[in-house]
Symmetry: C4
């Protein structure tokens, strides 16, 4: 009986809504804290607020586990929740690991994904879309790599230091890809050799062409899989109908033959 | 009889075309007024022109209401019209509320939407498209929020003040999203720690990936709903045909059996 | 006989290829002339080259008209050709109307469109695509107009002069639309009132949303028209089949009834 | 027997994986060499490493040729491999042709494409997509050319030298196309004549419109070819079914006639 009530409570809408509210409220507070003035004005309250949030999250996870038991850990999202709640229980000396403590607090906000199914679906959809572009990412990396190596050969003497080594060259190429002041980079390179515009224009044209095709390929691929799925039902019915027609044709031929035989017999 | 003529007048094409003309003319005048020279040259005329427009709009709305009666207020667009016309009747002391008076005058131009059905359709279509991206907007907000909080932790010491608090950080991130001088922001951050390029590149890659998938998802979703709608008629017909074929098959079997029975009987 | 040969000549491939070659060659020469050095070096040759081209184009058009006669003027492209050829025959005093003379010479290069059918098709396709976006252009203009008027109210005091009057404001908004240094414009406005970021961010979000939906709408619209066209043949066949099945069903019922009647009669 | 083992070896997975590993390792080394410090620290090792790689690639190609024989040269990818391996065997005096030597070494990394089928497929897909945009490229070139010639007429006096001759003008237009500081270019031109904004805005609008339509056309074209391919099977079946129905209808009519004749005969 007691367990039943707990289960009811765990699955009640206002429990999940209240948790969402707590997370959103916590997010707002974290946001306000980024303003130095507000952080100082309420300096004494942060500790108690943080403690309250920590306890509520602990309470919430304990209830969920006590109801779902093993099933709780089957969902990757729950595991993510659990780790965040447990890790933030560890007392951290803020003065030493301030960045880690802050990041952990921030990650609590990501619990929002688990408490809202619509967001969970989008994230799952986004993760599911990664394989379809993995090959393009590899190809883009090779293009970046080749242009990066060539760039750090040709423009190493550029005074801006944008081509110092392969890594910095690739970062510069990423900048060129976003069109961010890419002509400054090009004009600098063209002072070494006026023909070096070829390097930049070809890079932009090639990467734009690759992205363009990626886009078309993904849309077409999605459409194909969509149509195949829905077409099957119609296609199956048409196949069945085809077989039925063949059968009817044969049957009819038999009937006709029978009739003809009957008629032939009659006159006798 | 008098009402019939009024209705004819209200529904006549030249009445709505004339209203459109008045609105477009008014828009041109408002545009010219933004030039300080022109505003001063015709200073005395603006008042009479404004009065004329106000009276015409009042006249137009009165005619429409007197014909349509209650139906008039059923359309959101008409309500929007009515409010703008009524509110601009209130005499406002321009010296005090100059901004509000000017905005109200500008909103009159938006009456163009109601007087042209093509524009009304596009606006309705755009409003109808909002739900399909609402989840993505929430997700984008979370991404902005998380990066914003991290950014105002890490780069608070940046001299440009672009990461002063959460709100300014999110505005800066919006700027990075549009690729507007984002490398300036990054190079500044990299002076604090050369590894901070990860923050910017990951933000750009993640948001680009989310937008990319949003785009594909919306196109595919639209296509799916489009196809489902049009497929139903064909699908229904194929279903019916299938049933008919089954029935014909059975009938034919019966006919064959009858014939066979008849033939069996004959030799006797 | 003489006319037949002329017609053969006019339709021969090498005649149209040669014309294309002349146009491309002329385009290259015009390009070289933009370099001041080259223009001076060959100063005396330009006149004769121009005369040669003019005569060849005249010769070409005369042949085409003498063969096609009235049909020649039915194509808009031919008309475009004819006007360019005729107008460049008029002797223009270069020192006075140098710009017009130069533009006319440049327009000769556009005759390339008429001499290559692939290009003609693309241009026709592009022109055919205009109606599908005309409403969006009107909507965009209204958005630009409203933001332009508001902008020249609010930011008229900005020292950069980017909001001097409605026209300059709309040009500035076009710049914001292309994300070109838009934050500079925004930061300047935010010095008047820190809340003015709303103006810029809302403008970018709204126009991006409108473009996004335009894109999706055009793709879906194209797909719909494409599918309707191709579906008709299949759909018609399925409709016909459906009618046939109904007829067969009735026939079969009649046959069965006949058989039953026959069998009933027999035992007597 | 000895040949069989060689063939087994050539087709074994670990042979191709090991080659991939060597290429990736070589790519990493080339990347590290772009850092001047690392290049100096290991100065003596580069020669031996390069020799080792060269020998391994030679060994690999010899094995592949000895197994595949003539078939090896049928694939364009293999030919590409072969040329790179052979050319890097030629001893080059680095001090003289340092750039060529370095590029050849870099091209070795591109052998990755041949060793990974997924990458080969993407490259083949990209190359296959070129014809569908070739006409648009020609059209874009004409637009660039016409605007380039007009630009170098109108703005030749601009102090930035961005319109010095046709070629530089076209490079500047490419910059405008990427929205990179295009307003700087425009504001400079507007100092010559305030109406020259038309040149830039029209260029951006026209090229954007062309690209927009290109995108839609390619997606629709891909969809059409996709649907045609898959529709054929269903379409054929429906065609066959249609013929069958016609035949059944006729047969049934004959059967009915036969029956009627039989019944007519009976009373006699």
């Amino acid at each position: 009986l007691y367990l039943n009530k707990l289960e009811e409570f765990r699955k009640s809408k206002w429990f999940s809504n209240f948790t969402t509210l707590i997370i959103v409220g916590y997010a707002v507070v974290l946001g306000l804290k980024t303003s130095h003035q507000i952080e100082l004005a309420f300096e004494n309250w942060w500790f108690y607020l943080d403690l309250g949030i920590t306890l509520y999250f602990l309470f919430e996870v304990v209830i969920k586990i006590s109801v779902d038991k093993k099933d709780f850990f089957k969902s990757g999202w729950n595991l993510f929740d659990f780790i965040i709640v447990v890790v933030t229980l560890i007392p951290i000396d803020e003065s030493e690991f301030i960045m880690i403590a802050r990041l952990l607090r921030l990650f609590r906000v990501l619990r929002l994904f688990n408490s809202r199914p619509e967001l969970k679906n989008i994230i799952d959809m986004l993760i599911g879309a990664i394989p379809s572009i993995i090959d393009i990412v590899v190809l883009m990396f090779i293009i970046f790599y080749v242009y990066g190596v060539i760039g750090s050969f040709l423009f190493v003497s550029a005074p801006s230091g944008l081509w110092e080594n392969l890594f910095i060259s690739m970062l510069t190429l990423f900048r060129v890809l976003t069109f961010e002041d890419w002509t400054d980079v090009m004009y600098e390179a063209m002072e070494i050799n006026p023909l070096y515009w070829i390097y930049f224009v070809s890079f932009i044209v090639i990467t734009a062409f690759v992205f363009f095709n990626l886009f078309v390929a993904v849309i077409i691929g999605e459409m194909e899989s969509l149509r195949d799925k829905s077409k099957n039902s119609v296609s199956n019915k048409i196949d069945e109908d085809h077989e039925k027609l063949v059968k009817i044709e044969n049957e009819l031929a038999e009937v006709k033959q029978l009739l003809k035989d009957a008629l032939k017999d009659k006159p006798k």
